[in-house]
Structures are given as C-alpha cells and as structure tokens.
Symmetry: C2
Subunit: 192 residues, 2 copies
C-alpha cells in the first residue's frame, strides 16, 4: 500500500486496536466505500434514518445538537483519523438526534449498518476491533462527561487540545465555545 | 436452569444482545466467578489496579468520583442487571479514578480482564455480546452527557428514573443529588 494513501492510514488505524495483516485488510475493505463530501454536506440529518458510520481520512465534520430551549451544542468534532455518526440512531437503527455537517471538503471511508454486521460475522478480528474501539470511545466520552460533572471547562478544553491537537486553527471561536459549553468571554479566558 | 437463579438472569441478559444457547452458556460461565460483597466493600479503589468487571445479580454498587476541588460526584449506580467497573482502568489496565462501593450486600458475577479477552477469543458470540453492550453503554452515557451540555437536570432525573425505576427508594437524597449534580434544594423541586 502507498503509505500516504487514505487506505494505508485506515489500515494503521485498525491495526492499532486489532492485529490484522495487509492481506486481511483487502478483504475488509470490500465492506467499506470511499466517499467525498463538499463543505456544508450532511453525513446525517436530524430526524432522518442513519445508515452509515464514517471514518474521516481528510477534512472535518461536526455533530450538532439543539437542546429543548433551541440552544446549539457541539457533540463531536471528527477530523483525520476519527469516526463519526449519530451513534444512537446508527446502532439502534432509529432516527438522528444530531445534524452532522462537513466544515471542510471531507473524504471518508464509510460502512453501512448492514455491512458492519456482516463484516463482524465474517472476520472475527473486525468484531474484536469494533469492541475495542467502542470501549475506547466510551472511556473518552466518560472523561468529557466528568468535566461537565465537575463543571471544569478548563479541563474540557485541555482534553480537546489533547484529542485534536490541530483542530483549534480550523474552527471558529463560536464553534469552539459551542463544543466547550462556554460563552465567548469564558473562552477568551481559557485560551490565555 | 432455575428461572430465579442469578445464572438464569445473567443468561437472559446476554441473550438480549447476542443469540446464545443454554449449552453455550455453560461454557461461557466457566470464565466467570460468583462473588458476594458486604455493604461497604469496594469493587474498585481509587489509585489501585482494576482487574475485574462485575455484573450485579443482587444488591447495589456505586462509583464515586472526587473532582479537583474535592467535591464528590456519582458516576454510576449499578443495581440488578447492570455492569460496573472503573472502565478506563479496566479496559486500559491502568489505575482507578473511581471508588466503587457496595451500598447494600451485593452478589455479582465477575470476570477478569484476562478471562474476558480469552472468552472473546474462544467464543465469538461473546465478542459480539461485548461489542453490542459497549455500543449500548456509549449511547446511554451520551444521553446523560447531553443533559449536562443542555444543563437540564430534569431530563437527567427522568433518564435515571427510566434506567433504574426502583432505585430512588434505595438511595439517600444526598447520593441522588450527587448523581444528578444538583443541590438538595434543586432535588426537592425535581422530585415534585
């Protein structure tokens, strides 16, 4: 594989969690598709079915949540190397509670719910991969939850910097504040 | 199996996510142990290694988190039918950030990290089970996170009632407030 191709990066990502060979990877890739989105395109739409989960190889997507009072929040950013979907809607095959939108032109490797189930049944190492990845995602989300429980926006900002070191330069202050759950004024204080 | 035994309840729990037969269940159970804890016993201790995850068949355990300012929060309750461990420490085999304590005499079915890996490798249906369970736990945790992002303690209380319908009678108001992240005064208002 060309070591700069998106497939090689995806292979390295999977191999970080589960020990697959390059030969097995060819089989695995037959369950995935490559897809390109323009800036502003939706990966999921509030109230609609969610059939795919996406691994971003280039670009940036964001999942937006509108609360009962109409206030916007950002659940997740996904740049290079991250997975994104409306998890509740995808895993349970219900309708989306998030709008997922590309903030840049975005290239992704996608898999449908049906293909993901088939892949896990056909290739045990991929079931193993998705189990480990799910446990890892749970722990990362729990760390973010703890910052809300402790009302610690500084720690939340530090987690973001650690998780997405090059993201800050690519998003607006408004989006950063909507992710951190702080006002623009508090954000200026955090960034100092 | 005796339909009131803890093993039958555990079998039904696993079968809810992955289609195992009673015959396969006997094999599966050889990886688990049954354990009884007294009220006040620890399932995990802050700063120590975490070797097991627990499925509660009877009783009640709670994971406590102390923030940087010394304030106590409750990450999770686990009563009959729930799994509990310090997830970060267990999955990554690092040290605990939570204290997990039994609030009642508690009976659990436990599995070590090593046995869980062996079980997943030996019995693909259990890898499937743990993947589905992990996705399910992620979604439940995300719902709780959304209530913090939206600063909606009422919704957080409603989620608790839905997830643990008989819990309220078994825990103190102080613990309920520490789970919801509200003062005792706000709690009285929510419970009306």
């Amino acid at each position: 594989m060309n070591e700069t191709s998106e497939f090689y990066l995806f292979y390295k990502h999977i191999a970080k969690f589960s020990s697959i060979t390059e030969g097995e990877f060819d089989d695995i890739m037959s369950y995935f598709s490559k897809i390109t989105f323009k800036k502003g395109d939706n990966l999921a739409k509030l109230g609609e079915k969610v059939n795919h989960t996406y691994w971003i190889s280039k670009g940036l997507a964001v999942s937006n949540y509108i609360d009962n009072l109409g206030k916007e929040h950002i659940m997740q950013f996904a740049n290079e190397g991250c997975w994104i979907t409306d998890q509740q809607a995808f895993y349970n095959q219900t309708i989306a509670i998030f709008d997922i939108v590309c903030l840049e032109q975005t290239e992704a490797i996608s898999i449908s719910f049906e293909n993901r189930e088939k892949l896990c049944a056909a290739i045990p190492k991929m079931e193993n991969f998705f189990r480990r990845k799910a446990n890892d995602s749970f722990v990362k989300q729990q760390k973010r939850l703890l910052t809300y429980m402790a009302n610690d926006a500084t720690e939340r900002f530090n987690l973001l910097l650690k998780e997405y070191p090059d993201l800050i330069q690519r998003i607006s202050k408004r989006k950063l504040a909507a992710y951190l759950g702080v006002s623009r004024e508090t954000l200026s204080r955090l960034k100092r």
